[in-house]
Symmetry: C3
Subunit: 315 residues, 3 copies
Amino acid sequence: MFTKDHVQRILEQAEKCRKGIENREIVGDELKGRVMGSMFYENSTRTKCSFDAAMKRFGGGVVDFIAEASSIKKGESFEDTISMMDGYSDVIVLRHPEVGAAERAAAIANKPVINAGDGTGQHPTQALLDLFTIRSELSTINGVTIALVGDLKNGRTVHSLAKILCLYKNITLHFVSPLNAGLEMPKSIIEYIKIHAPNFSMKTFTSFAEGIRGVDVIYMTRIQKERFTNSEEYEKVKGSFILTPKILNESREDDEDYDILGRNNNKLPIVMHPLPRVDEIAPEVDADERAAYFRQAQNGVYIRMALLKMVLGNL
Amino acid sequence: MFTKDHVQRILEQAEKCRKGIENREIVGDELKGRVMGSMFYENSTRTKCSFDAAMKRFGGGVVDFIAEASSIKKGESFEDTISMMDGYSDVIVLRHPEVGAAERAAAIANKPVINAGDGTGQHPTQALLDLFTIRSELSTINGVTIALVGDLKNGRTVHSLAKILCLYKNITLHFVSPLNAGLEMPKSIIEYIKIHAPNFSMKTFTSFAEGIRGVDVIYMTRIQKERFTNSEEYEKVKGSFILTPKILNESREDDEDYDILGRNNNKLPIVMHPLPRVDEIAPEVDADERAAYFRQAQNGVYIRMALLKMVLGNL
Amino acid sequence: MFTKDHVQRILEQAEKCRKGIENREIVGDELKGRVMGSMFYENSTRTKCSFDAAMKRFGGGVVDFIAEASSIKKGESFEDTISMMDGYSDVIVLRHPEVGAAERAAAIANKPVINAGDGTGQHPTQALLDLFTIRSELSTINGVTIALVGDLKNGRTVHSLAKILCLYKNITLHFVSPLNAGLEMPKSIIEYIKIHAPNFSMKTFTSFAEGIRGVDVIYMTRIQKERFTNSEEYEKVKGSFILTPKILNESREDDEDYDILGRNNNKLPIVMHPLPRVDEIAPEVDADERAAYFRQAQNGVYIRMALLKMVLGNL
């Protein structure tokens, strides 16, 4: 897990990367001649493409290890494959379906290994880009109220986000998942928050409308059909957790004029989603300026640029 | 559709790119740090590879969206995928099997979208490289005689070429396709030419030898077996539309010494083909200096360089 | 086949590349804007990735021809595909399952073609990196004793290595393969050595321990189960050809204090392997400083950098 200091430095570096791209101060010479070994043992389009874009914006090269085409079939061990790519690259980006894979790789490699998600384990770059998005959109992280919505049991991103938020202060978390669907936030995460962020407030909701009332951030996740044994139950639940412009508008609290940030609370909360979305956010919401999910995806490039720069910049 | 002015600027830019590569004036700094999002929803080796080469000759980076590996399976909409890549890239190159896909993408994206072919719709970069090839090989486009040969019904490239030629003057088109094979140039294209280029001359042929007699350009296309219900019919037709050195030599008109361009007509016409070829041009033709099809493929790089430069150069 | 002069120049260039990377003198501008066409008609992760890394360390671009996605299905000939890529690239790197493919390509292409392995034919870049590894690890190639171990019949790398070694002097080769397994070094290779390097000493062993006693290099290869008709036979053979720390330690000759290089012979021989390995070298050997196989893989980048630089550098 990251320290607060480390996280702050990454967020600041990511902010510099964003401005550097926007102002054309990043010219594509920064990491020229450097090689990122990209090892995706499972598909993850967004993570893969944003790491690629990050490296290439700095003028660096990417060498793709294609797992299906590889010597794995010939019986090569994970460790040997890592050692090979370690010899070819300046940094390894690893996505793997097994928990702990990134740690195993880091133990073997001489070059830095960036964990791009390992099974139900960590997905630290996603947590960082979520954090960066909240800070970018709301100018602060301390003191915000965040509704985590949907499948809170299986959604890795909401777990990682909840944990990294513990580095900040006075956050209110709304855990919003449908009644009797078994999709509640796991006790282990709640315990983690209680220990690491005792000043947090946590509330649980089964009503979508109530769960998002008055919040600063609505963090939507997908409710996967395959989690339900009863498809009738799924259809009922599904429909009630779709964010539409109407529901979004009604989330404003009419009885307060200003929110905790001193902003006029007539503003809607920002809407986040790790993507891909299916139908949990109506496309009509996209046009709203506070629909932040595509900016959130783009922020993934800045976070990954920040990490690559920090890891490779001073070599 | 392009205006004449726009097309001329692209052709001139492409000519500069060709010279820039040949003289080493293009050094690979021109688009460094810039990212092309490459989105091929269907395979097209030549189009994909030449766009990649174009971007890389300018020192730019390419981020590949791999459709089969993507979140499409999870139910993500085309529009959401475009929005994601739009956030990662400076320009999107899109190939898609559905007509209108490029327009749908352009309506969503903040960055420029280059249409690399959408179904039976447009394939504008192919039309441009065909045009560029004619101009490069013959020094002019106005006034030339072009035989379009083979499957004129289903061949998208001949439709696009015929339409873009309408921006020029006094062109003679020979539509050459086998008798009773139902592969004639569609009426809609012929009508388009009549309206947009009333000074064009159009002639229809069922004899290959007659159709290519005295022309400046023989544009060959493949006759696909699967278009025929009767395979005997196919075999008969197929054999009669194969370009051999003998047929090519006989295409010269002995009774005229100089063609419309004032060139000695003892020169053979140039031979074009969108590739891949199967057997419609005998390999023996390759050695002839007027076999232009591999230069035509290479011209695809210059046209795509021109487009990328025009779209990204002044950002 | 290479001349001695040519090989020496490549090895020296590769040494420069290694130092250039280590000292950051290679900055990623050397081949900027240049394009390597990467054509792998069969998978070869190590060769593919190390060529990619080599080109990208110089700041060059790679255009991938993906055989499965290509027009081959439409019936395009190998020659036509080469001509296409030739038009897009400054150099072609070709891996192909058929013997002679690289020569066929080179006959067609205007740009240089680097053979990255063609079937049971040549795999010259592997032979070069093996040679480079021996020179790097032992400071010399002349006069060394090398045990080639395992499947000497089907292992292409040991054939190529044995042949290229013939450019050097006074080498002793131990051919070590299991008894009655039909995996002996082919007579054609032995004849080749007798003709081209009459001053070589060659010995044949069926005992692993005896075959590696006192050598400078143990070059391990994999014994593939599918080569055996009798799986019991395989299991027996397999177990006896596994390099463990114990066997490695016992390979030292106690009765000699100094080896031919004047080094204290208490040093173990270096261990090489073309990789991927399965179980023919115990993972416990990895920690030994003379386990050279991962450095050997990394040397593949330097050799390929040397070749790309020599072929493209003075264009």
